[in-house]
């Protein structure tokens, strides 16, 4: 009895320590963002609300020159939203359609094309940074949403995910559809897509977060402030901070980290079950 009591106690102690370890940085960042720069500079990090919440966030979100010369954080949030949604939707459409072809059709190039898709796992962006930039620059796509999103959506994870799922769909469905004379497009839209609803939701959630958090690619292919995503804004404010100058605006840096974190975290919290499903299934 006493043994299991101590076990339960230590379990809760460990989990609470874990929670504090995981949450403290974000909590402190938020609390510190609500204070005046002088307070931060003189007293260090803050652990409770200050009186400058509206001032800081208003300046960061809406005032030109608040965080960067031209662009406001709200504009960067919009760019991030476009990237997150475009990435997630693009990835679902493109990988579902490729997986559909590979699973449901007999065609000569099926195997070689499957290996071409597989190759993307071997070629993460990090190993082809400079030539990828050159391609996008050559196509005149720098600083465009297309150039930002399209090169990112072709990787294999989504295709494998849908391929795995389609293989588990009962064969009888296709037989029945063919008896009813349903063509390939009809079968996909009327039967397969409705069946895959949860799968699509799960992958949309996870890919939105992944897309929102993209860093290296936006970093090299957005050169104009107006195309920055909020995560790139983080890099810029870091640069400003490390250059020094007058009183460093730490509260704005903290506010920016909170703004960059909030949307994906909310998505994960609200759609927790789908998110876990999408993560566990798509990585396998």
């Amino acid at each position: 009895m006493s043994n299991s009591f101590w076990r339960t106690l230590s379990t809760h102690a460990i989990l609470i320590c874990g929670m504090i370890f995981m949450s403290a940085p974000v909590y402190i960042a938020f609390m510190s963002s609500t204070h005046a720069p002088e307070t931060l500079f003189n007293e260090g990090l803050q652990y409770w609300f200050g009186g400058h919440f509206f001032e800081t966030y208003n300046e960061v979100l809406f005032v030109e020159g608040g965080v960067m010369k031209k662009v406001t954080a709200s504009r960067m949030l919009v760019n991030s939203m476009i990237l997150g949604l475009g990435f997630a939707i693009g990835k679902v459409v493109i990988s579902m359609s490729a997986a559909y072809a590979i699973v449901y059709f007999r065609f000569r190039l099926a195997v070689p094309l499957f290996w071409v898709i597989f190759m993307t796992l071997l070629l993460p962006l990090e190993v082809r940074i400079v030539p990828s930039y050159e391609v996008v620059a050559g196509l005149g796509l720098l600083n465009t949403h297309t150039g930002l999103i399209v090169p990112l959506i072709a990787s294999a994870t989504g295709t494998f995910f849908f391929r795995q799922f389609f293989k588990s769909v009962p064969e009888e469905l296709l037989e029945a559809a063919r008896l009813d004379n349903a063509g390939p497009l009809r079968f996909l839209i009327d039967i397969l897509v409705p069946l895959s609803k949860t799968m699509i939701a799960a992958i949309l959630i996870i890919m939105f977060v992944v897309g929102w958090n993209q860093y290296l690619w936006p970093l090299i292919m957005t050169t104009e402030e107006t195309s920055y995503t909020i995560v790139i804004g983080i890099k810029q404010i870091y640069q400003v901070l490390s250059e020094g100058g007058e009183l460093p605006q730490f509260q704005k840096a903290f506010a920016l980290t909170i703004l960059a974190t909030l949307p994906p975290v909310l998505v994960v919290l609200v759609f927790q079950n789908w998110f876990v499903k999408g993560l566990v299934e798509s990585e396998k």
């Binding site: 940085p25 007999r106 190993v127 890099k235 975290v265």
Partner: protein
């Protein structure tokens, strides 16, 4: 592949075309370019270039900065992988035992997945900032002469701590789902046979989790190699003196900021080979996982 399929036609090509097209333009062509450029030496103005076989590779591998970076990357990956797996496993095992309030623990431990690496990097950087960072002050009061800007060990400490923090939640989610897929009956039988929870963990649970652990090891090494780019770029940027320069960060600084095309391409190709090895590893373990 299905037993029942649509008959031969041009339709499937239409469905795979978009993905293949993007892959050829944005993956295969740039990769081929990187391989091609890795054999070329450009003059200082980028006007003419000459084919030099493996000289860029020789220059890369024999270069002190590259060796230092490779050494750091290995130590860094091992430490990040070990600590983030160990912490996540401990938390997952305990969270799996909790009867009341387990879902709020789970939520609180997994949401940090959504924080982008550079955001985590900036937050951590500010915590250790000499002006506002209380951790900086606290460590110095405790007698650790802490200075991440000057001291290689301190800089590595900061980068590793943030990288571990960022990765714990992913590992936690996978470990927890691995634990939950162990049949209840097995765990009940184990409880009857063995009263000590520690012994039960090492003899029953841990071996049953082995496939998850192997799989996560590959995922974590890949993370430490590639995705920590954002953390390094918002904390140390490879300083002091290249002591926290990972291989990926070095490719970026040499190729993009330094404009050494041949050298950075050779480094890229070496990284491609590393990814290849990791992927082969991963798929062998996955295959074994299916046989369980």
């Amino acid at each position: 592949m299905k037993r029942v399929q649509f008959e031969r036609s041009a339709v499937p090509y239409f469905f795979v075309a978009p993905q293949i097209l993007i892959i050829v333009v944005f993956f295969l062509w740039p990769a081929a370019q990187a391989i091609y450029q890795s054999f070329l030496l450009e003059d200082a103005f980028g006007i003419s270039s000459q084919f030099v076989w493996f000289r860029n590779y020789e220059d890369t591998i024999l270069n002190f900065a590259w060796l230092q970076s490779a050494g750091f990357t290995i130590i860094f990956s091992v430490l990040v992988t070990f600590f983030s797996l160990a912490i996540a496993l401990l938390l997952a095992v305990r969270a799996n035992e909790v009867l009341h309030g387990s879902s709020s623990y789970k939520t609180m431990l997994m949401w940090a997945y959504a924080v982008a690496p550079p955001v985590a990097g900036l937050m951590g950087n500010l915590m250790f900032n000499p002006f506002v960072g209380d951790l900086y002050a606290a460590l110095n009061i405790l007698g650790w002469d802490f200075n991440q800007k000057l001291d290689a060990f301190d800089a590595s400490f900061v980068v590793i701590l943030i990288s571990v923090w960022k990765q714990v939640s992913v590992n936690f989610i996978f470990f927890l789902s691995g634990l939950q897929s162990i049949p209840k009956g097995v765990m009940e039988a184990a409880t009857l046979d063995c009263r000590s929870p520690e012994k039960r963990f090492w003899t029953i649970t841990f071996p049953l989790l082995a496939p998850t652990t192997f799989f996560l090891m590959v995922i974590n090494i890949t993370y430490a190699f590639f995705e920590t780019f954002g953390i390094i770029d918002t904390t140390t940027r490879g300083a002091p003196g290249g002591a926290t320069n990972t291989l990926v960060y070095k490719v970026y600084t040499d190729g993009f900021l330094g404009a050494d095309l041949g050298g950075s391409s050779a480094q890229s190709v070496i990284l491609m080979i590393m990814v290849l090895v990791l992927t082969v590893f991963q798929f062998r373990f996955i295959e074994r996982k299916v046989h369980y």
